[in-house]
């Protein structure tokens, strides 16, 4: 049986040139294997580098060393050695990523935001929109909001749009960064169902779930993150990371 996602010897350090060249080790030689249909929960104290690891698995952050081996189109590809256009392809069809925040695109309606990944994977537009409507209904976004751009939506609504967008394609690998952070109980339950359905389809899921109830409902095992940070001189706090990232240009 093939392994959809296998991180080998993953090491990540931040060097903050704008702050006197401080070096922040985050994690060191991480080994992580995720099987089809399995949900691995990244676990550790706040600031341990869970988000950094998750972003690295999406090739959003660039680890210093190691490999991220991904099953893509019948081949095993090292995400870190792949050409940028290959990464774009892999993200389009193989790895889905649901962040805590929706990156709002001006003027694009919620329905189109959700349908877009399906359309770019070759689904006919009508079919993709019908599917998007189903998903938006499931995450309880009122129909009157579907045709509006999500820029004016509340935080919770934006996150639910983001979840619908993340689940519209049956990605073989799904990365979830606190998908239930600002959701009410009913919507948390919907997300749990969505994750379970994905697992049943054979999706390899890696997630950060602070909510214990959700974690217990979906996670097959915990993966401890944070040993490197514990031994480090300086621990990268969330605020440091935000300052570094600083890049979230609206």
């Amino acid at each position: 049986m093939t392994i959809p996602l296998h991180a080998k010897g993953l090491t990540k350090t931040f060097t903050l040139h704008t702050q006197g060249g401080i070096i922040l080790p985050v994690f060191d030689t991480i080994e992580l294997t995720v099987r089809a249909g399995e949900c691995v929960c990244l676990h550790g104290p706040s600031g341990a580098g869970k988000s950094t690891l998750l972003r690295s698995l999406y090739a959003n952050y660039k680890p210093d060393a190691g490999q991220i081996l991904v099953e893509h189109g019948g081949q095993t590809i090292d995400l870190l050695a792949a050409e940028p256009w290959e990464v774009v392809e892999i993200r389009r069809s193989t790895i889905g990523y649901v962040s805590q925040f929706l990156r709002v695109i001006p003027r694009v309606a919620a329905l189109d935001v959700v349908a877009e990944p399906a359309i770019s994977n070759g689904m006919p537009a009508e079919e993709a929109k019908a599917l998007a409507e189903t998903l938006l209904t499931r995450v309880r976004i009122p129909e009157r909001l579907w045709s509006l751009a999500p820029a004016t939506f509340s935080g919770g609504e934006q996150q639910r749009v983001n979840i619908a967008r993340g689940f519209i394609v049956d990605y073989p690998i799904l990365l979830l960064d606190e998908p239930t952070a600002s959701l009410d109980a009913a919507n948390r339950q919907t997300v749990v169902e969505l994750i379970r359905e994905a697992k049943a389809r054979g999706t390899a899921v890696v997630g950060i779930f602070h909510d214990e109830e959700v974690r217990n409902a979906v996670a097959d095992r915990l993966f401890e993150v944070g040993r490197a940070a514990e031994s480090a001189v300086v621990s990268p706090s969330k605020t440091d990371e935000r300052a570094l990232v600083g890049a979230l240009v609206a």
């Binding site: 590809i77 003027r107 570094l244």
Partner: protein, 267 residues
């Protein structure tokens, strides 16, 4: 599993491949030793502060400036990869007005301000032999719709248009011949923010819909965040960091890129 077992998908041939490109103005360096490739449908952003050499690079790529050294290989339709620096001038000009588009920062450089909007869009089709007025006009109006300009303005001169409309018209004028590669120099420069957003959204939609490859030079990180698949950061004529747009912006490695990224005001 070993590394040697890894296989990569067959790479699509590059549309444009630049190798060792340098251009100086006397002792002043314009751009130095630039190499990259862009594939069909890919959008490449080039960012950097004023004077970093990005506009020089764009001028060299689009054939408006002769580089000192280096090669620029373009995959011409029906002919295959050709070093465009070896093309004759008419061949290069023909390429520039059929298979390429150039969107200038200032619409005045890319439009005929005394020619109606319809005529501006019709020029390229007429230049390659369109001779049926009705067809030319209906094609022009199709494009006016695409760039969200009211059809009642078809016969108005762009002189009477707002900056945002002029820029949208310039885009239509370029895209009407379905170019495979479009060069854009600060396409949102000089526009106010709400107009920028509309333009960016429009560009994003058109580039995706038509599968156009684009090279966008800008100092605005929001523009590349929205439009570009890939990013090159330039400083003092050199490329100092490159990669996927979100990689470079979210996890910048080079000191200058970190400075650039952290200098953006958060709203």
């Amino acid at each position: 599993m070993t590394t040697s077992a890894l296989r990569k998908p067959a790479p699509r041939p590059p549309l444009l491949e630049v190798s060792g490109l340098s251009k100086s103005y006397g002792t002043q360096i314009g751009c130095r030793d630039i190499s990259f490739a862009i594939r069909p449908g890919e959008v490449l952003g080039i960012v950097g502060e004023s004077g970093s050499g990005k506009s020089t690079l764009l001028a060299c790529l689009s054939g408006r400036l002769q580089p000192d050294t280096g090669s620029i290989t373009y995959d011409m339709q029906g002919r295959g990869p050709v070093d465009i620096l070896t093309l004759s001038e008419p061949e290069r000009r023909r390429l520039a007005r059929t298979d390429w588009g150039i969107v200038h920062q200032n619409p005045r450089d890319g439009l005929r301000l005394d020619v109606s909007a319809g005529g501006n869009i019709g020029e390229r089709p007429m230049a390659i032999g369109a001779r049926h007025y009705g067809d030319i006009r209906s094609e022009a109006q199709d494009w006016l719709k695409k760039v969200e300009i009211d059809l009642s303005r078809t016969d108005d001169k762009p002189r009477t248009f707002s900056g945002g409309m002029q820029q949208r018209l310039q885009i239509a004028r370029n895209l009407v011949t379905r170019p495979r590669l479009v060069f854009m120099d600060e396409p949102t420069g000089g526009l106010d923010v709400s107009v920028q957003a509309r333009l960016l959204d429009l560009l994003r939609g058109l580039v995706r819909e038509l599968g156009i490859a684009a090279i966008i030079v800008t100092h605005d990180l929001a523009v590349v965040r929205l439009l570009a698949d890939r990013l090159m950061v330039m400083q003092r004529g050199r490329v100092i960091e490159e990669g996927l747009t979100d990689q470079v912006l979210d996890d910048p490695h080079h000191p200058y890129t970190q400075l650039l990224v952290s200098s953006v005001l958060q709203v």
